[in-house]
Symmetry: C2
Subunit: 195 residues, 2 copies
């Protein structure tokens, strides 16, 4: 288990293929989900839902929606991060509940007013998908911290993935987080320099 955050950051890489028959434990999965749950989000809206898929038929359906990329066909668990879009309408019950919580007993109207100015119906889907990357980033690091391999998968047929993960109307797929034990060692890390 890595000792420091930078160790987890260094350990994390996109695993393209997982070793067969090496399950992810319920405890590991719960810790990854909790890391995602605690992620920050703009306006405290947490515009995400995590759909955990571990059964064989479910994983196959999700993998198919991801064009059977090996990371998805070999993963022990797949977390489909759904972006919540329809509920982001400023007067929805969801938004009201989030802002009431965020206000911590104070007046929620200032944050609500700021959000009404921000909200543009046409662009909220992509915005919400981007917010889901906060949750995904914390999940990927937590997986590395627990010694799991992971792969963020953004290439999929959105309709097929929504069906495979039984998303609700108004939810759109953001990212699939594939988890397992990586079959290969980490490749050389490639990053551009700062600046």
């Amino acid at each position: 288990m890595p000792d420091t955050l930078i160790d987890a950051i260094q350990l994390r890489y996109a695993c393209r293929e997982f070793a067969a028959d090496t399950p992810v434990s319920a405890d590991e999965l719960a810790s990854v989900l909790e890391a995602g749950r605690l992620a920050p989000s703009a306006f405290g809206l947490e515009p995400w839902r995590f759909v955990v898929v571990t059964d064989e038929a479910g994983r196959a359906a999700v993998a198919r929606a991801c064009y059977d990329q090996p990371a998805t066909t070999t993963a022990a668990a797949l977390i489909v991060i759904a972006a919540l879009v329809a509920v982001l309408e400023p007067d929805s019950d969801y938004v009201r509940a989030r802002f009431a919580a965020e206000a911590r007993g104070q007046d929620a109207e200032p944050i609500h007013a700021a959000y009404r100015s921000f909200y543009h119906a046409g662009s909220m889907a992509e915005w919400a998908r981007g917010q889901c990357n906060f949750a995904a980033a914390q999940m990927l690091l937590q997986a590395a911290h627990r010694g799991l391999g992971s792969c963020p998968v953004g290439g999929y047929d959105a309709s097929a993935l929504a069906a495979a993960a039984a998303l609700q109307p108004g939810e759109v797929p953001a990212l699939v987080v594939a988890l397992g034990r990586c079959r290969h060692a980490a490749p050389e890390r490639i990053r551009k320099p700062l600046g």
Copy 2:
């Protein structure tokens, strides 16, 4: 310093006001930037640039672009994360260089072909801004790990912020990460439950 990743995740919260005259050290700032640099991104495109603002006049200009929100007027350092948009055009030198690196000596054409299918000029700005959240998430956690307070700031006048951070044409602001020593204790954590 927190011992585990979940400690850093638990420690991180949006600090709305920093204590005056408590600078962020060069080493702390470098470690936060490095955490951002190592973040994952779709297609390995790393569509971001980090603009560090620590001088008083620069911070004031960035803060003004953020409507003088206290987190920005009191921060010791502000990192403006710029989303790279214009260079995401599939045949740009930037994209060719990233894919050549990502291919690690192998043929870069398969990833390039996948990216050409994915690319839609009209939606790349918001997509790139969403990718920047991967870098931001790692920065925020690294700040917490180093004992720094932080606040992600997404409310700003985009034109004013681009000017204050001297962004180039084709770059758009994604997020400002404000850093310092938080003036107040963490508020009660508010999160919706899983599921």
